[in-house]
């Protein structure tokens, strides 16, 4: 187990370095680079700019600048927002709760609904349900998330008036029920794609598990069909799904950004777009790196959880 953990940690560290390199390359592509904010100031002369460039160390070779930048990232100094001068990490911190709430809720929906569809498809293979679920999943994967959101707003807000069109809570209310009411539509919209993916994988995993010897053994020992399914089949089918949850993280974050825009949800996705339109590059860069770190950590945690649950992996 220790060897596995160390190996996995080392892999994640290497990945972090690569991600920071890609991030730094993107930063260098930004118009004007880190100097952009000062270039806009009309009181700045060419001399001032040159002096500032030297003070900020931007006249040094790129690789020196990279190590300097990466070192500051490690120390938690992610720069300051151009908009209000507050530290990038604290700006991100203010928006992370909304995004985690949205992603968490939609993941629960995706797992519950996707597992049910997948297991039913596997136990009723080649039935009408299975066939429709297969086609439905492919269509769900093809629907643009923001369009699904707009259609939802059209029907459930404008036509039926059941659900709010956006925001996380009503000003002056903010009770748990109010949050829940606002959460329904964005989280369902965000979960659509993941219900589809989850149901497909769950169907395959269940079919794999059904054909295993231990299922035959359980049946032979006289366990009821329901018990065999719930305890032996589903338990084993869910195991590879933990890894899938990790692998799906980038696409959930992508979906969250789009969903937050449609539903004016005050999370990291909206923050990213707002910062882009203000050319607030420190925050843009911070979020870019931060989202990749979430993905790397998520995959690391998923792998560790699997290793704890499944001795076959950690001993291999």
């Amino acid at each position: 187990m220790r060897g596995f953990l160390l190996h996995r940690l080392f892999q994640s560290a290497v990945l972090l370095v690569i991600v920071s390199l890609i991030g730094f390359a993107t930063l260098s592509l930004m118009p004007g680079g880190p100097m952009a904010q000062y270039g806009l100031d009309p009181g700045m002369t060419q001399d001032d700019l040159a002096r500032l460039k030297q003070q900020l160390g931007l006249d040094r070779p790129l690789w020196v600048q990279y190590f300097d930048w990466a070192w500051r990232l490690l120390q938690g100094d992610w720069g300051k927002s151009f908009r209000d001068g507050s530290a990038v990490l604290s700006v991100i911190g203010r928006h992370i709760f909304a995004t985690l709430l949205l992603m968490g809720t939609s993941t629960v929906i995706a797992i519950a609904l996707g597992s049910w569809i997948g297991i039913r498809g596997a136990t009723h293979r080649h039935s009408v349900f299975d066939y429709l679920a297969t086609i439905g999943a492919m269509i769900a994967l093809s629907i643009p998330t923001f369009w699904f959101g707009l259609i939802g707003i059209y029907f459930f807000t404008l036509k039926l008036g059941w659900l709010p069109a956006g925001n996380m809570y009503t000003i002056g209310d903010g009770s748990v029920l109010d949050y829940a009411h606002h959460l329904i539509m964005p989280s369902v919209v965000l979960s659509l794609v993941h219900v589809a993916i989850w149901s497909r994988y769950m169907r395959t995993a269940t079919l794999d598990a059904i054909s295993q010897d231990f299922v035959k053994t359980a049946r032979a020992k006289g366990a009821s069909e329901r018990r065999v399914l719930m305890k032996h089949v589903v338990g084993n089918a869910l195991l590879p799904m933990i890894a899938l949850a990790g692998v799906q993280l980038p696409s959930i974050l992508t979906g969250a950004l789009v969903t937050e825009t449609v539903f004016t949800w005050p999370g990291m996705g909206r923050l990213f777009l707002d910062s882009l339109s203000y050319s607030d590059y420190p925050v843009v860069m911070g979020l870019l790196i931060f989202s990749a770190i979430i993905v790397i950590l998520g995959n690391l945690i998923a792998d560790i959880v699997i290793a704890f649950v499944d001795p076959r992996i950690r001993l291999a």
């Binding site: 086609i135 707009l150 843009v284």
Partner: protein, 292 residues
């Protein structure tokens, strides 16, 4: 392979086993029919309609579908929606297809080199693939699009930057498993160059998985273009794309819902078609699926 087997090979590609199996896949055929119809409509449509995409008609603002000769209605400036939809379709399909071609070429070259060379270079290339995969694609695409001026060509490049990794992974795995086969050793003994062995001897054997990945990559590229254009960082007006047609649609959702419904439906039909085709190709080419 003896002469008998050679003679048994079908002489026309549509008589091949793959083509027959593809033709027996109802969804794949449906996808092919849908995307063909949509492409023809987008190519021919603008010539048949009596409207220009930039022709503003303030007397015909917010016309719902089937108003006079405006089959799909008009937008807030009275521009014909059908004409814009078809021209936007040309842009979106072309961007999606070009981005796919670029990602497949880049992914294939990286995958072949990583898989064939292996060792230090292969590991470095594949870890780079992992690094790119760690970014949620839209964050990277939006940051790049804001940094570089988003011309249509640049959008193609930016989308390809975030979509080449999957092909690279598939090709790397295929090439790695083929590297030690007899025909490769034979090639080496004949003194063929590594480039020849990589691209002329090994690569043709990996075409099946690449073809499947390509059709799914078109679907994802079209979706990604729609996302960033919807958010205002993709194809820039006045050039229409399905994504940027939806850009302003949200504010008119109650007064002109067709503005949001129609372009989104076009995106869904196009993407569904490519996903259906990809599924059919996967079955026809016997490629092991990511989700069975």
């Amino acid at each position: 392979m003896n002469t008998l087997a050679l003679r048994d090979r079908p002489s026309r590609w549509w008589q091949s086993r793959v083509a027959r199996r593809f033709a027996q896949h109802p969804l794949a055929l449906l996808g092919l029919v849908m995307i063909t119809a949509l492409t023809v409509a987008c190519v021919v449509g603008p010539w048949l309609l009596p409207y220009d995409i930039l022709q503003i008609d303030l007397r015909a603002r917010f016309a719902p579908p089937l108003t006079g000769s405006h089959i799909l209605g008009t937008d807030p400036l009275g521009r014909d929606l059908a004409a814009r939809l078809f021209v936007a379709g040309r842009v979106s399909l072309l961007v999606g297809f070009s981005a796919m071609l670029l990602s497949v070429v880049v992914g294939t070259v990286v995958g072949v080199i990583a898989g064939y060379r292996g060792g230090w270079l292969g590991a470095a290339l594949m870890r780079t693939v992992d690094g790119f995969l760690a970014f949620p694609s839209i964050f990277l695409v939006l940051a790049l699009s804001a940094a570089l001026q988003p011309s249509p060509l640049m959008i193609v490049v930016i989308i390809a930057v975030t979509k080449w990794m999957e092909v690279a992974r598939i090709v790397e795995a295929e090439v790695r498993s083929l590297r030690e086969r007899e025909f490769v050793l034979a090639g080496r003994m004949l003194g063929l160059s590594s480039v020849h062995i990589m691209f002329r001897e090994i690569l043709p054997n990996a075409m099946g998985p690449i073809t499947v990945a390509a059709s799914l990559t078109v679907a994802r590229a079209i979706l990604l273009e729609a996302y960033i254009s919807f958010l205002g960082y993709g194809i820039q007006p006045p050039l229409p794309s399905w994504g940027n047609m939806l850009n302003g649609a949200q504010q008119y959702l109650s007064s002109a819902p067709w503005m949001a419904i129609i372009p989104g439906a076009a995106i869904t039909i196009a993407v569904t078609s490519f996903n259906f085709i990809g599924d059919g190709l996967r079955d026809a080419l016997d490629v092991k699926g990511e989700h069975g």
